[in-house]
Subunit: 140 residues, 3 copies
Amino acid sequence: MKISARNVLAGKVQNITKGAVNAEVTLALQNGETVVAIITNSSVDSLGLVHGGAAFAIVKASDVMIGKGLDGHKLSARNVLASKIVKLQDGAVNSEVVVRMTGGTEVVASITKESVKSLGLKIGDDVFAVVKASHVMIGA
Amino acid sequence: MKISARNVLAGKVQNITKGAVNAEVTLALQNGETVVAIITNSSVDSLGLVHGGAAFAIVKASDVMIGKGLDGHKLSARNVLASKIVKLQDGAVNSEVVVRMTGGTEVVASITKESVKSLGLKIGDDVFAVVKASHVMIGA
Amino acid sequence: MKISARNVLAGKVQNITKGAVNAEVTLALQNGETVVAIITNSSVDSLGLVHGGAAFAIVKASDVMIGKGLDGHKLSARNVLASKIVKLQDGAVNSEVVVRMTGGTEVVASITKESVKSLGLKIGDDVFAVVKASHVMIGA
């Protein structure tokens, strides 16, 4: 499978909670992190997702935010992943930030250049990769 | 109506499934494709959506992914639309990819230039436009 | 808290409607606007959101659309905020549009340069900032 989403993270299904229309799926990644996705019930069925089954969490770079100093704060985003910046590339308006999570998995974020500046982001910084569960797709 | 979302696709409501907070709305586009959206129940009511009624599926270019060789794979994204690349335009960090679905409808995707490169995308390629249902708005 | 999302809007919780998996949270911003977010039930609990409590609506610039002449139309997006364009900055592919809502709060949108052109956007224009509820995070 080739997909333009920059983040395709392999893992195993750890939990599935079905609602009326949507379901919450938790994936345990290979390096120990967990990722939560909100997908439709129909997708849980059509993908045949079961506890322990192999699956991918797929996230577009533009759906990843970078946070700093979030320790005392709380976010509704279900995915707040402790990371370190390993690469920074500026464009005209947007920048690409690559972070490595504590478990070693890399995640690419596309944020505005203005945010890189206002957060003073630089390689080596301890940050958080923040992703809303509804922005995570599941592949199988 | 003028909206910055690059994809405003005319269709008719084919199905509505209401949940506790969210609803799943399926639209049949004019050229035969179907698009699934997750919107709130309140929006179904305030838009007065009914089976057979005219409506628009509205999707930001940045919410469209491009997939290749997805045949053997499954994605939780409810919208995986067989398409052909008809236009490619590179920016500094992001690229714009225009695809034409088999029914003829064009869809614009904004993906990173790195993805265009790593997937080896070029005009004429058979690809899939992939959109999560929760990223589709409905206009009426 | 420092986060790359360009829009961090302070407000108070006005309403919470829980579903099976997701919840709808309405925030009253300081300048009078209201913003609706869809987050998971777990997040409502872990953030300890209560009626009247202080909270932030957090939205990535890339999740904000700009609409014009929407008056006769209806959108499923729960956040359609009357605004005026105060700043425009073009990149190679994307542009940054800053709008000021009637209450005074500024919102940053990242849209394609092509949309700026096709909508004929310019400083001083009356527009709407459009954001799907599922794209709004809540911080506390």
